[in-house]
Structures are given as structure tokens and as C-alpha cells.
């Protein structure tokens, strides 16, 4: 990695408008190695848009992003190789089995078949008994686990997670939180959105609030009382509506 500074994710004055509606305006965001970021905001605040812009799926109107020092526009292939992404859709093929899905994506990331890696990942997310089942028959929660395995497959240095806890049961959420925590502890940078403020604060080191097209709050989660933040946030979200 050739980093100018320690920032693995670097977003500089990114703006985005859908037709005439401005969604993001001059957003600056940085995160270093091992830092996990919790992006908070009410529905429609632009969280998903921001994540999709960092993932390179959406082109911002202005501004620049770089992942591990690779500019997303100039070196998209190198930048993408460092990215793991969890979106609303699970991004797996219903007609392929669980292990075939992972092997397919392993080949897209240039990892060969990497059977051992696939097996270990399936163990980690608790899918090893479903290895040869078609992804189409998995329940929502199991699909979400597969999506997580898919995102971590190529050992990315940056993980983007958009609502990773949806559809997971209590135990699976705890487990996922551990996986994410573990990812950050091993030096990966993470950006996450979720509506569960407590869970978000537990997994992340920093919290930012996105509101009215801008970032309005940025703090270490260590200095925040999770219970109070969650309640305040709830009241605030109600007042916005």
C-alpha cells in the first residue's frame, strides 16, 4: 500500500444530486486503519447514497474518493480489490450453491478456487452445514450471512456495510457484531449504517450523523453514553419527521 497519510478511506468534498434534489453536499470523511465508522441518519438522509458512492457504484457530481491511496476514478480496479461491500441485496445467485457462489466471486477477485478459504469463511459465519444448498432456498437471515461471507472473501482492507443487521436473529446479530469488531481489530477500516444505534455504537469507534445533506456530528463512541445517545437519537429522529 502506498499511503500518503494513514487514511485508508478518504472522501473529499463529495456532492451528489438526483436530478434537482441534492442528497449530499460537500461531504468530507476520512478513516484510518482499524477505525470503524458508524453513519447515523434518518431515512432518506443519504446514508446509502454515501455508501454507494464510496463503493464506486454511484458517480458523485463532484469531489474525489480514494481507497487505500487508489483513486476510485483513476484506479478503479485496484481500489475495488480493497473493498468489501454488504448492501441491501445479498448479491448472490439463487441458482448456485453456497460454496459455488463464493468460488465464483473468488475467481472474480483473482483468488482462484480457494476452497480452504471458502470453507473457513463458511465456518465463521455459521453456514458450513449449508455448503451444498442452493442460495435460493436460504432464509433471509442465512442469505445475509452469505452476503457477509461474500464481502469478506478477498480479505478487503475496507468494509462497507449498509444495514448489515436486517433479517438477522438476536444470536446472529451478536455473532455478526463480533465478526465486524474482529475485522476492525485486525486493522480493517469499516463504514457502517444501521438503524440500531446501540449496535452501531458497539461495533464502531466513531459515530457521524448525516443530516440535511451534511455531516453534523462526529465523535468517538468511547466518550458517548450509548443508552443516552440512542434515546436522544430516537427523539431527534421523531422531531425531524
Amino acid at each position: 500500500m502506498h499511503l500518503m497519510n494513514n487514511n485508508v478511506i478518504e472522501i473529499k468534498s463529495v456532492s451528489k444530486a438526483f436530478d434537482a434534489r441534492r442528497v449530499l453536499s460537500e461531504i468530507d470523511l476520512c478513516a484510518g486503519q482499524g477505525i470503524s465508522l458508524f453513519v447515523c441518519g434518518v431515512n432518506g438522509a443519504g446514508k446509502s447514497t454515501l455508501l454507494r458512492i464510496i463503493a464506486g457504484l454511484l458517480q458523485p457530481d463532484s469531489g474525489s474518493m480514494s481507497i487505500c491511496g487508489y483513486d476510485l476514478n483513476r484506479d478503479p480496479e485496484k481500489a475495488k480489490a480493497q473493498l468489501g461491500v454488504i448492501l441491501h441485496g445479498s448479491m448472490v445467485y439463487a441458482d448456485l450453491t453456497v460454496s459455488e457462489n463464493l468460488s465464483f466471486f473468488a475467481r472474480l477477485y483473482g483468488l482462484g478456487k480457494s476452497c480452504a478459504r471458502v470453507r473457513r469463511l463458511l465456518d465463521d459465519v455459521g453456514l458450513s452445514s449449508y455448503t451444498h444448498d442452493k442460495a435460493g432456498v436460504l432464509s433471509r437471515g442465512l442469505l445475509q450471512r452469505l452476503a457477509i461471507a461474500r464481502a469478506l472473501l478477498h480479505k478487503p482492507s475496507v468494509l462497507l456495510a449498509d444495514e448489515p443487521f436486517t433479517g438477522l436473529d438476536c444470536e446472529a446479530s451478536e455473532h455478526l457484531a463480533d465478526i465486524l469488531r474482529d475485522f476492525a481489530d485486525r486493522g480493517g477500516a469499516m463504514v457502517m449504517t444501521t438503524h440500531d444505534a446501540r449496535m452501531g455504537l458497539r461495533c464502531c469507534d466513531r459515530v457521524v450523523i448525516l443530516d440535511n445533506r451534511r455531516l453534523i456530528f462526529d465523535a468517538e463512541t468511547g466518550s458517548i453514553d450509548a443508552e443516552k445517545f440512542a434515546n436522544d437519537y430516537l427523539g431527534y429522529a421523531r422531531s425531524v419527521k
Binding site: 480496479e77 448479491m91 477477485y109
Partner: protein, 237 residues
């Protein structure tokens, strides 16, 4: 370069395997193709003297309409579970996605033709004295032609509500110029028109079989390259 071939074949194999498992489109298109051939066979009962003309025409029409089904499936299948984002997020060139989809579509059309050509031959009592390599060549060029624009527009229309009807309009409009020499070439293969025509022939064509095939090769080359270059713009959100 090795990475390119490996990803190309990965997506190609994935497409063929998912199609063979889900059987979303191959059975439908084969039955549709047979129905079109059957309808035209019935309609041509009155003019059976010209069956050498009707046969190739039936083949082209069933090929065009069934071919559109394959094209639409190509990216419609990626919409489920947002798989298309999975492809876009991978560190591969978007042109590779286009090329592998193009290959998969062409391969599926080949499977379709292997079944439909005997049906046409039997239905219209066309002799197998036809030149097989020439027939295969013309059909393959047609496959590549429809797939080249079809794959691109399939990516374009995947977000539209009127997906398949929009796709048929776009593909058929762009494919119109190729249909003239393609029809001529196919008619020649089945011996419906002389090898070379000068002036106003019985079927109003001029040129030779070789010229028609040359034109089809040029058409395919132009559109494969152009669509490959423009694919990145079409697929982006």
C-alpha cells in the same frame, strides 16, 4: 491477461450453469421458435411452391424473436438479489462483463439453432443438400449480430418497467440493416436465389453470397467493438 480469461470464463460458466439449472429461457425460446415456424408453415400452405423462400424466412423470424428472450434474460437475471452490483464491485473491467455475457448469449442461441434448424428443414421439406458449413456460418454471424447489440441494450433496459418490449424495439431497429444481407445469404444457402444476382432479380437482390457474408462480418465487428466500448456508460447507475 490471464486474469482477464479467468474472469471471462468464470462469468460465462456461471451464466450457462444458472441457465441450465433454472431453465428460465431455453425451453421457452425453443417452444416459441417452434410455434412461429408452425404458424408460418400453416400460412405458407397456399404458396408451398415457394417453400424454399418461406423456410429461411421462418428460420429468421423464429430466431429473431426467440433471440430477444435470451438477450433480455442476460441482465434481468442479474437484477435478482442485486447480483449486478456484485459484478460491478469486483475488480474487473466492465468490458469483461460485456464480453462474457455476449459469449453466453451467443452460446445459448447456438443451442437454440441446433434444435430449430432440423425443425425448419422438416417442416418445409427442405433438402439437406444444403451447404452445412455455409448455413452454420451465416447463423453464427447472425447470432453474434443480435447478441452484440442485444447484450448492450439488455443492460440498458434492465431498470425499465417495459423491459422486453423496449428491448425488442431497440434491438430490431438497430439490427434492420443486417437483416437485408442476412436474409439474402440464407436464401442463397437454401438455393432459393442464384449465387450471384445482377440487376433486378426475381427476389430483388443484387450482390453475391460472399458479399453478404462479408457485410455480416463487418456489421458484427463494428457492433461488438462499439458496444464493448460503450458498455461502461450503459451499465453504470
Amino acid at each position: 491477461m490471464r486474469f482477464f480469461w479467468s474472469t471471462l470464463s468464470a462469468i460465462f460458466v456461471k451464466d450457462i450453469v444458472t441457465e441450465l439449472r433454472s431453465r428460465q429461457v431455453l425451453p421457452t425460446m425453443i417452444v416459441l421458435g417452434m410455434l412461429i415456424v408452425w404458424v408460418l408453415r400453416m400460412a405458407s400452405e397456399a404458396i408451398l411452391t415457394s417453400k424454399a423462400v418461406m423456410g429461411p424466412v421462418a428460420l429468421w423470424i423464429s430466431f429473431l424473436f426467440s433471440g430477444l428472450l435470451v438477450q433480455e434474460r442476460s441482465f434481468a437475471a442479474e437484477q435478482q438479489h442485486d447480483c449486478i452490483y456484485g459484478l460491478l464491485l469486483a475488480p474487473i473491467d466492465q468490458g469483461t462483463i460485456y464480453l462474457s455475457k455476449l459469449l453466453a448469449n451467443t452460446a445459448m442461441l447456438c443451442i437454440f439453432e441446433i434444435i430449430i434448424v432440423p425443425v425448419v428443414l422438416v417442416a418445409f421439406r427442405l433438402g439437406p443438400d444444403t451447404r452445412w458449413p455455409a448455413l452454420a456460418g451465416v447463423l453464427l454471424l447472425g447470432n453474434i449480430g443480435i447478441s452484440s447489440v442485444g447484450t448492450l441494450f439488455s443492460a440498458v433496459v434492465r431498470v425499465s418497467r417495459a423491459r422486453s418490449s423496449l428491448l425488442s424495439v431497440l434491438v430490431l431497429v438497430v439490427l434492420m440493416p443486417m437483416m437485408i444481407p442476412a436474409t439474402f445469404a440464407l436464401l442463397t444457402v437454401f438455393g432459393a436465389v442464384p449465387e450471384t444476382l445482377q440487376g433486378t432479380g426475381a427476389l430483388s437482390f443484387i450482390g453475391s453470397f460472399n458479399a453478404a457474408v462479408g457485410y455480416m462480418i463487418a456489421f458484427d465487428a463494428v457492433f461488438v467493438v462499439a458496444c464493448w466500448l460503450l458498455f461502461g456508460f450503459a451499465i453504470k447507475e
